[in-house]
Symmetry: D3
Subunit: 326 residues, 6 copies
């Protein structure tokens, strides 16, 4: 029995230390990450069982990736291995105002992008699974990946597996119209949609300044049951104000976190983990609260993965001080 | 002739770099620290002679510890070496709001915790010493350590050596009631008490919102001559507002420092060093001012030890700018 | 179904980089290791399923340890977690002739040493397991650990689970007579004994200059079916001659490897993995060959764990050149 | 054809990592820098050709220096090499409020300080050059360097090469009166003067609280055409407010940047680069805007050199968000 | 005027430190390398002017690559930049006997592999050039690269530019028959062929156990004037015996070097540099001697590039001791 | 009471990691060293009290130096501090055959080189001292240093303090004839002379292929009582054969060590420490044995200082195996 299955690509992340530009560095720190993987890890940290389904080249980089994933406790038994293709890589430069952090993707031609229909037998894969989650990055990776993503959602719906989609538009991977077209096909099979106001406007033509009103429109127009999002201020790089909110006919909010930012990546994915965790217990308010707390904590952690304990999330929720614990 | 003798344990400190969690790290930075050691080092930086009395296992870790202590110029000639037991270790994770820094102690069973009465001949040890300082951590380490701490204070008083105690309650080592009971025995032999309002309330049942009023109560009830404390805002991890104050019948304050926090550890111990430095010259106001400046600077230094010069402390006191010096 | 279950303690290993002495270092590299864990990992690398049974404190160090173990693919589902006690640590200094590498253990009081009878229900634990392996380090850790080790071997024998014991005498943990006494109790339940000539002489009073003759004596006297060992020259630190051999009534040898030594630790444990791998296929000769190749490769790998692939082991067995592969 | 030639010394910079004091470090990060070199690099990043003229000892440190300079694309073909003397070094400690960053120069006796008249044939050196830039550090290095600096400016003026001088007073190198005397000799040959209000007051006795009024006085009294400066708030070490402004009879300003400070060094030199870049196109307003944007970005970059692209400068000018780019 | 132009791809090289496997690392050291680039750098170190012609993606990785190349003093003015494609990467694991070093290429789809005929106008590119060098890796990268390589050699021959080819067969890039077919087309335009006995046999069907006899056959059959090669013992990873030899109708040899191996990569390319350096002075014997000395030294240098001085090469040729120089 | 006083300069040592050339590095490891300091540290490790007399600039580098020295337990109370001049630095590149390690000194103009007569009152300094040791580097640093060195030896002799001189000729500091002239002045006051055969021949015109015969000539001609030396094979960089020998009318030898070389520096100084240690107990044979063992171990230690224990020296003397100790 698996609580949550996530489907997507993960990459090896290479980042120069100490705010260096890639151009000047002689050294790269190695992490792994990928939106759906990050969410799966978040769920494990919160006490859920999670499985990550993907396709990875069986070489030293692929072994590095799988070693790191297995180390988190996420189930990798459904990951397909192939001698062909390559492991996607991305380079990350940390920023400082007025210089934003920057990501250079080198993921074209990966084993995941070559995942072809039929490699995964979705009815089998989804048996014994309670929840399927994926992000809008997965269908952006190739036409086959888009088709597989749709098949996964459709199969889940037909098997009674609950579903969530984090829209997560990436302009370096596809166009808004392509992303929007895919989303319109997918949404009928989605219970929970995570979408920033920008993505909702650009992909789904729902442009509402008010979150609740926009969410209600999305519900009405696309048949999803829950709409959720995170919001940030982002006027600096090293600090931020971060919160999450959700709408299922009524508005669920939580506190706004003043975060000191070590590494911003994965915060949205952590929010998704908390949200799903709450929804598995049919408690959306708690999902928003836990997701936001986990997302806030994620800003303080090096790497994309949420190395926190459930107890730490609870402490933050309870308003614990930031004084040193000793 | 030794200006100040401090008595306590020091540990090897192991901390992951770059805000990593212990769980994810492959590398640990090594420092040494201990409340009483930190204060001794602060006194040496301010120009005083200081001796640190302790008990250390004579193995490679113990040699590491002693090498670092000797390097500071603190006198280690009274440190007892033993082949037995172990060197205490603590692991430190740096934090970022809303994630506090965290300390994981692994100090049980150390050579210091096994220090038995009679190993130190206090009348001899304290001969030629002007001031004895210890913190409430020392008696928390074992029953014998509590007894020795008391003996040390009593002997000092009988020899006319001046004394200070930094209450410094550690909930991971003992209970408030045990700590309070020990403190009540010790305070008759203490001239200068450093106690946060929280510790005063929890251990000594003196709960006053106003520092001066609380300090006066402590003076009246326990016979100490001076009560001092530091105060912080602590609503973030990387910045803080820090100040110190003291009461000896009148209130001594100094400026409030806006500090950018590299490593918070040792700031209270640095304050104690400055305070004692002033009191050795019978100038409590200057003690508060120097202690607070040294404590403020300590937030900016990696490790527990105050690697600053007396000239730098004076420059901060004089309100020097934070523009680069060149 | 689990091919091999190993039972023992693992520790966090802390080592100064670049041949530094512990005393002079400011930095420690973090690895994990433990004889039985190392063997389990070796078996997974060779394609077997392996489970490691142990007891670990549930704190940040324990999470570090488990993350690293899970990352290898070894099954940790039977590891007991406890909030109490501590995670054992060992410090390693690398050497260079004439300075030997040195290990400083700080493992007393660990969660494993406090493992009490009844915590593990051996009949359940061993169900579905084909092979049980442990080393002589496990019974050396505490009286309870010695009793549990015996129970494990006895239960295995009664359930038809095959068994191996790597004698692996550690003089820092117990005396030869204590170790010998325990071994004499255990050997009736052991099918495969790995023992150096030194250990055989010191613990079991079988002192034969000739391996085969000694092995036959061990078989005759203690009822084990197979006796195996590795041999080294060890006249330098950075290079060695390494081989393995076994006796089951006839002598099985393999080539002698000239190894360039990056990190000697774990080579014997890797040999055990290869040996068991061969014996699971009832091919002792192949077990010796693969174990020796894996052990030789282990000398070239930083850390205690055998990060090689089965294909690399086969290439070494096939006599592949050491020219760069590109 | 060379757009801009800069003349000055560069040094190897050695800085402890992670906010350490020099006194406590076991490790130094290596960078190179020098005011005029930094400006030359800034010009290359903005698309100009730039040449750096200097004198360097031909040893391993000199090769390190030249390798780094050549790597930027700055033309080093006029750098004089000598087997004699030494390469200047400076040690940098990063700060945190209330501890300022600190620089310890060890540059006495360098090959540049021993540059003697006649070693550079200025009419030849300046042929084909459009602009000559130097800072007030160059003449401070030795009497010969002061004489050469003057010769360079005079020759430039006589050949119609445009000129700029960044006053950049360094109290560790010479006195205000010596610096003022040299500046008074030099200014008749300078078209563009960059001078902080403090330097203008201390060296040139032009003490005006209002920038424009002071600049006009400098123009009137010393015959320069343009006066420019940067301004900062500097009440913290890790953040600052930074802007630039210029006067050529009318005031040119740009936005004020809130910068998160990784490494403050080189920001003024970067401003000079942008200013000259604008003036080469006879657009002072754009020079101020680009110089300030480049200077703001420079605060975010480790090392003295401006590792940014012209596109990034344009993005900052266009008010791009600091959200991660992906 | 350029002494030597080399044509080929360079990559960013990423290597785990301290003999780690890629799979276990958290950190990668960054270098750059490529056979023809390495040779160009070697020529610059020996005092020649050298130009490297290539095609590189204009992103942060491409800037890193070009910065490193420019830093060596090699002329990059003919390198084509393109916003498209990617920068090739290779991962390197260092080895220790019996584990060979291993290279994992991730270079498919690079800007160089997409270099199309017409992008480089060879008659212009080769004007003012004395020598053209390339290796057999360049034509292996794509059909277009093979065609361009041939065009380059043909144009060189027609313009009187001297030519060399280092056969350098890479089995991961193409087959022996494809490589042999290309070589047969190219050799009529090649003056100097560098070929190991293995490559000569596998690609050109010249399998002679004796170097001189094989070389004479190659000269006779393919019309090259000089045949050269290096030879190694390669029975260990950290030490080797290395020498070079050449045949132009008579045999030229030099001493055999006992090398301690830090990083084997680039030794053959360094040999090519020395060989060409000698041949530019029409002194093949000296070319072999210098090439072998430079190649021997290259084994001692981290990275692919020969960071030695001509004086150091001369000292090695003169038989200087390996005692520390001070 | 001080057993041994040594007199000389120490420097901060900066070395690139991982066999890098200085030219290519971005990082330097920091150590401290100096011939006489190294010997003093060796004596402390062997259980003697030692004092190091020197002159150091009181800046951050000087504090770094003194911190490291104090950390060893060597007495620094006689070190003169001055705000003037600079702290000498040397850069070290590690080598690999055929590339020797290389040292680049940058020590000119140090506080020690500016030590003037009268700054040290030698009769006072030498009171309570049993032995004075210096090397031929000290007088090479300046004319004043040469004069002071002579005064020190003369005063020692007149006070009955025993003396030793390690000839240690450095061709980068002075000429053989200057060094020889000084040595001839000094030797009448020297009891123990350490001199390699090369130095004896070049400086003192005693060129004997046989050590004993040369030593006897030195004794006869210059009146020293003991002549000692170390000998090495030095045909590789990473391994060596090392031994020591001495002559006082009879020949004292010890075993020849096969050493694996981590860092060759300080081996001769360690030998001197052991030699003096033996002579303080009037046991030259033991001095040679301990000095050679300490010198052999010094090859295995990073940095110039002998971080070993007396017990480890004894173990090596006793022929302990190089197998890992655990």
């Amino acid at each position: 029995m698996v609580d949550v299955l996530t489907f997507g690509e993960a990459m090896v992340r290479l980042a120069p230390p100490a705010f260096q530009r890639l151009e000047q560095t002689t050294n790269l720190d190695v992490e792994v990450g990928g939106a759906e993987l990050n969410t799966a890890v978040g769920l494990v940290r919160l006490g859920r069982s999670a499985q990550w389904v993907s396709r990875v080249t069986d070489n030293a980089l692929g072994r590095l990736l799988l070693r790191q994933v297995r180390g988190t406790g996420v189930d990798t038994s459904r990951v397909l291995l192939t001698p062909a293709h390559r492991v996607g890589v991305y380079f990350l430069e940390f920023g400082a105002a007025p210089r934003p952090a920057e990501v250079l993707y080198d993921r074209a031609g990966s084993a995941f992008a070559h995942l072809a229909p039929g490699m995964l037998d979705w009815p089998t894969v989804l048996t014994g699974v309670r929840w399927l989650h994926l992000s809008g990055i997965t269908p952006a990776l190739s036409a086959d990946a888009a088709a597989e993503s749709l098949t996964a959602l459709q199969t889940a719906r037909s098997l009674g597996v609950r579903t969530s989609l984090d829209l997560n538009y990436r302009s370096k991977l596809w166009t808004p119209s392509a992303a929007g077209a895919w989303a319109r096909q997918a949404l009928p099979f989605v219970e929970v949609l995570i979408a920033s106001r920008g993505d909702a406007a650009q992909l789904l033509e729902v442009a509402e300044p008010d979150f609740a009103r926009g969410a209600e429109t999305l519900r009405a127009r696309f048949g999803v049951r829950v709409v959720a999002s995170v919001e940030r201020s982002a006027d600096a790089v090293w600090r931020d104000r971060f919160t999450g909110l959700a709408w299922d006919g009524q508005l669920h909010t939580t506190r706004i976190y003043e975060v000191e930012v070590v590494d911003r990546l994965g915060a949205g994915d952590a929010f998704a983990a908390g949200l799903i965790h709450g929804l598995l217990a049919d408690d959306l308010a708690r999902g928003v609260a836990i997701g936001t707390a986990l997302g806030a904590l994620q800003h303080t952690l090096p790497g994309d993965l949420p190395w926190v304990t459930a107890a730490e999330v609870e402490a933050v929720l309870a308003g614990a001080s930031v004084r040193i614990r000793r």
